[in-house]
């Protein structure tokens, strides 16, 4: 399989603190790759580096074989690298329908269109409706995001990402804070992603990690600690030690 997303010795320092150290990660097309690690291991920092929110102190990022290390966040999105946020990042005054349609428009490079009303594009409306239906947001699609209950906002967080038709999707703790009863829509949506979409999942919920991913990387103190198939990582004594809090911290 072709390598879609790859990092080469990625580093990020905040003053004296090394948040990311020599991370070299390879994601093949269609991968279901999980990134796990204790709190503060630098998982979200890594996502921020991949998406361009933060500039790395050193190293390189390649998407589909071309260097994207210096590209602005929106340029990476236009190449298909889309993320969700651990803490909801939504548009408070817009409705779910507007949010999703907006992402669909930008994906089609229609976002700068200033004459035709957004609803005139049939494909955008149909795509948006489909995503809203799949994520159980159709019944609230005309309500302002600010007044939606948390579970719906969490679904919208993912709906906006899906509307961008990603080729690589970075999911930062998608079910964080979602009550047990409301997880199903999110899990179903993740399971229904097209097989050629590459997914990197950050998650603390090990049941979800082991059911969704087929490959796992473990990040500790900003560095890759272990990587392998689910079985390999599950057997790894060092990983168990880290999760039991027995590893020497350096």
């Amino acid at each position: 399989m072709a390598v879609v997303l790859q990092t080469f010795s990625l580093n990020k320092h905040f003053g004296g603190i090394a948040a990311t150290q020599e991370v070299s990660l390879r994601l093949e097309q269609g991968a279901r790759h999980a990134l796990i690690g204790p709190n503060g291991a630098g998982k979200t920092t890594l996502i921020n580096l991949l998406t361009g929110v933060l500039a790395p102190s050193g190293g390189r990022i390649e998407l589909d074989g071309s260097d994207i290390t210096r590209l602005a966040p929106h340029q990476r999105v236009r190449r298909g690298l889309v993320r969700t946020f651990q803490i909801n990042q939504l548009f408070a005054e817009l409705t779910p329908l507007q949010c999703v349609a907006l992402a669909a428009c930008e994906r089609r490079r229609l976002g700068a269109g200033w004459w035709q009303a957004i609803g005139r594009n049939r494909a955008v409306v149909e795509d948006s409706a489909g995503i809203l239906e799949r994520l159980r947001l159709a019944d609230v699609m005309n309500q302002k995001t600010a007044i939606l209950p948390y579970g719906k906002r969490r679904l919208l967080e993912i709906a906006i990402a899906i509307a961008g038709q990603p080729t690589v999707l970075l999911l930062d703790e998608p079910v964080a804070g979602v009550p047990e009863g409301e997880r199903k829509e999110i899990l179903d949506t993740l399971a229904a992603l097209p097989v050629d979409v590459t997914v990197l999942l950050i998650e603390h919920d090990m049941d979800l990690v082991f059911s969704f991913a087929n490959r796992i990387s473990v990040l500790v103190n900003g560095a890759l600690y272990a990587e392998g198939t689910n079985e390999e990582v599950a057997r790894d004594a060092r990983v168990r030690a880290v999760y039991l809090g027995e590893a020497p911290h350096g």
Partner: protein, 339 residues
């Protein structure tokens, strides 16, 4: 609800929702009949009506950057004044045709907007307030210094316009002036209305709400901000040009700080983010100014200040709909602690 709505009904509902958002409402049509009716009803007040139309256009332009894109500005008069001087100078030295002068002023203000947009892209709201204020102060002093060109503190006198479209003289009673300003205002309003319902306008609201997420859905935040800032500058320039052309005069006053403050005040009175706020605010402000100044010529700003404080503290919603205040109070009373 037992039945799950099907994909088809959701698509239809989504289409209907978008269509409803961009459709002309009866209330809007009624709104635009008012300035036309005013042209017949208040034939002795064309000058005041003209002032309202110009102020409305100016406030509409601020609404695009403040209400939609979330860019705060304390120096919007920079573009108004640039357009005013541009139109006055063009009429005096190049050509006195109003439409040609308007086009030149719009282009000049747009160019200034494009150049200065770079400065408002970064930083916090406070930075933007200071930067926009700074730019307008700089322009004010430049105009003050260039006496040979602008007339300095005396202003640029004797701007005589040719008849509009070659046949409508700008009479003393201001009828042509008002109709001219009204048509230009309506033209810009139509464009602004298209813009805010198009993907571009939606992307502005998105980046106003959350820039981080906006860039994460592929919105080139800086390019969009620069575009709307430039368009708003062009519009403010048009308003300034209308003032210079219809009054035959441009003075330092068009660049003064109080103009920037006034247009912000107008938008706060009318409400930002729905296009009509600037127009309603302009009418209310100009009428209040006119009435209060007639009663207490020296102290009219006292009343304007008081009204501003009331609007901001009490909230426009509660002033316009006092009953909503009561309802909200009752709800809070019943469920203390629930927000």
């Amino acid at each position: 609800m037992g039945l799950e709505p099907t994909r088809r009904t959701i698509i239809d509902a989504a289409s209907a929702s978008f269509a409803q958002a961009s459709r002309w409402r009866a209330l809007e049509l009624a709104f635009w009949l008012m300035p036309i009716a005013a042209a017949f009803a208040f034939q002795r007040h064309y000058l005041l009506l003209n002032e309202i139309a110009i102020l409305g256009l100016f406030a509409l332009s601020l609404d695009l950057i403040l209400g939609y894109a979330g860019i705060v500005s304390l120096g919007h008069a920079a573009f108004f004044g640039f357009g005013a001087y541009g139109a006055a100078l063009f009429a005096k030295h190049v050509h006195a045709d109003p439409l040609l002068g308007l086009a030149v002023a719009i282009a000049a203000a747009a160019a200034l907007g494009l150049v200065t947009s770079v400065l408002v892209l970064r930083g916090s709201d406070l930075t933007r307030l200071m930067v926009t204020l700074g730019i307008s102060l700089i322009l004010f002093e430049i105009a003050n210094q260039l006496r040979w060109l602008t007339g300095g503190a005396d202003g640029l006198q004797g701007v005589v316009m040719k008849p509009l479209l070659g046949s409508f003289e700008f009479e003393l009673n201001g009828r042509t002036a008002y109709l001219y300003s009204l048509v230009v205002l309506f033209g810009f309003f139509l464009v602004a209305r298209r813009v805010v319902h198009a993907p571009f306008g939606l992307s502005l609201q998105a980046l106003r709400d959350n820039r981080l997420r906006a860039s994460a859905v592929g919105i080139p935040v800086n390019a969009r901000l620069a575009a709307i800032y430039t368009f708003a500058a062009a519009m403010a320039g048009a308003a300034g040009a209308l003032l210079a052309q219809t009054t035959g005069f441009a003075s330092l006053d068009v660049l003064a700080f109080h103009r920037s403050a006034e247009v912000l005040l107008v938008l706060v009175i009318g409400g930002a983010g729905y296009l009509y706020g600037g127009l309603i605010g302009a009418a209310l402000f100009a009428l209040m100014h006119d009435r209060i100044a007639a009663l207490t010529p020296q102290y009219w700003q006292f009343w304007i200040g008081l009204i501003l404080v009331l609007i901001v503290l009490i909230g426009r919603e509660r002033l316009v709909r006092p009953w909503s205040w009561l309802a909200a109070a009752r709800a809070t009373w019943r469920k203390p602690g629930v927000r």
